[in-house]
Symmetry: C2
Subunit: 324 residues, 2 copies
């Protein structure tokens, strides 16, 4: 008996969702036709990104936020992405959430993801997992990711609303701001607001957000002035304020047309990434299986060819730019 | 008068080196032929990677280490890579070094780099900058990078010897170990060894390094047991020990053939990355300039096509598998 996994995902089966995500992770060829069937049913979920340094309390915040969203009768998908575990392949994020009550709630689906593959591609896989959860009927999808690198920025581009979580005493809040990471945030959460230094951090961040033309000029949406919210997620303080801020950003996006524009941009980016990924995978597979890669590396190592001419040679053999 | 930039780089001109690196950063078409000419003159420099969280004292360590290497009569190139500033494009790292004495030393070349471009590619650009500095005759190249993400791991793969800098009181050392980042290190530097908690950190890390089969089994070179060195770089304490550890790792690599193997692996990885990058540039340029991308995104947004069939369509138009 053949199981219709795409059909089951559309019915909301968590087992089928888990299976299809595993196919995506393992680059199983069954993923492609399945994703093709799911795609027309995507675009309904609202996507929230939560990022921040280790120790800011992102997991606790995700947990509490999920409870509040569930209390409104909405279902939630959580994707915990950990780009910092490239070797072990085991995601550290998400473990805490999996051990909490919400893991038992059938209206919540939780998945951890770690870096796989040769050239990152984590934002691409995350985008596909979002599509699966979206097609399965989840109303809100939360992407939780750690850190402040390029991976996280790419991942956060998938979200409709991005929350950057900061906490006092970590000493990197202002450094983050300087480094430009702040620019991806629609909402700043000053978490652990009961700790020493939280008020000062709140004042500093608010000041920067409201004053710094650079941040606003470079942010994705110039008409939105980011909100700064204080919270102590562990005691469930301020979590409804965060949810209100997300809803406020959502209605802002929908009012001025930015929402469709952002979704269009994301579709373009995802499609381009997929095309790129497929071409490169095909090429790499062929080059290694045919022994051609070994030959080329030999030629470079023996200084018979330089890598720049090798690249041109491979491209001219493989790529045919279609005429219009 | 046409200036022969490749020729000047080979003569060691810092002005020409800076110019060629700028071409690489700005994707100027003059970079390619120039890099082709430089490549045959690469492979002589020894490449040291220095990574660690913010606040561990990497820049100070790089500064002191450079002085000791210079005292041996060797020249140094320093590349400070900051993957955490994707938007501003302004690197924070390296600023401290540029303000120090070594910036005045003609035997030292310092360059900061931040993330550019759509798909990361920072390790690729770093590899190219290493090639330029190598061809210019620098004996040792130090790559300094912040953090623990995938970007940093990719960048550290370029190095012959990788030092992971830890410091007491930051609370993330053991978390790093868990996340698998420790596995990239050939040498662990416990910096700020005069501070409280340094001895305990030293004991913990030494214990993990010597006991943890997982770390050794997954490390790049199974026959090398990483060294753990204590230092207080700001007071120039332990810096010669770090240099000795690097030399010890270097002679280990050369003795058992791992050195050539690693360089070969790096060449293969760099070539694949360049192919990856070139394909993407070509695709993006052509699809956007021809208006084709807009059409495809329209079709997806209107649910006339799904992105998976779009990808297959583009692939069938673009790819020609060469016959062997």
């Amino acid at each position: 008996m053949t199981i219709d996994y795409a059909g089951e995902v559309l019915q909301g089966s968590p087992r089928a969702v888990a299976r299809v995500i595993s196919w995506l992770e393992n680059e199983n060829e069954r993923a492609r036709p399945c994703m093709g069937r799911l795609y027309p049913h995507t675009g309904k979920a609202y996507i929230v990104g939560i990022t921040g340094s280790p120790g800011t309390g992102k997991s606790t915040l995700t947990d509490k936020l999920t409870r509040h969203i569930r209390a409104k009768g909405l279902t939630v998908g959580i994707i915990a992405v950990d780009p910092s575990s490239p070797f072990t392949g085991g995601a550290v994020l998400g473990d805490r959430i999996r051990m909490s009550e919400i893991a038992q709630d059938p209206g919540v689906f939780i998945r951890s993801m770690a870096t796989r593959g040769f050239l990152g591609g984590l934002s691409q896989s995350t985008g596909k997992v979002v599509n699966v959860l979206d097609a399965s009927g989840k109303d809100v999808i939360i992407i939780e990711t750690v850190g402040v690198g390029q991976d996280e920025v790419e991942i956060m581009r998938i979200a409709d609303t991005t929350c950057l979580v900061l906490a006092p005493g970590l000493g990197d809040a202002i450094q983050s701001m300087k480094a430009g990471v702040m620019e991806i945030a629609d909402i700043y959460v000053i978490n652990k607001s009961d700790r020493q230094g939280a008020d000062q951090l709140f004042v500093e961040v608010s000041h920067r957000v409201n004053q710094d033309d650079l941040i606003r000029a470079k942010s994705r949406d110039r008409s939105w002035i980011p909100l700064v919210v204080q919270a102590a997620a562990v005691n469930d303080v301020g979590v409804t304020d965060i949810l209100d801020a997300v809803l406020s950003h959502q209605s802002h996006l929908k009012k001025d047309g930015t929402f469709v524009e952002k979704r269009r941009e994301r579709t373009q980016q995802q499609t381009l990434q997929m095309i790129h990924y497929e071409i490169f995978s095909l090429l790499r597979k062929h080059l290694s299986e045919s022994g051609k890669m070994e030959q080329l590396v030999d030629a470079i190592m023996n200084h018979e060819q330089d890598p720049y001419s090798v690249v041109q040679q491979v491209l001219s053999e493989w790529i045919r730019v279609p005429e219009e």
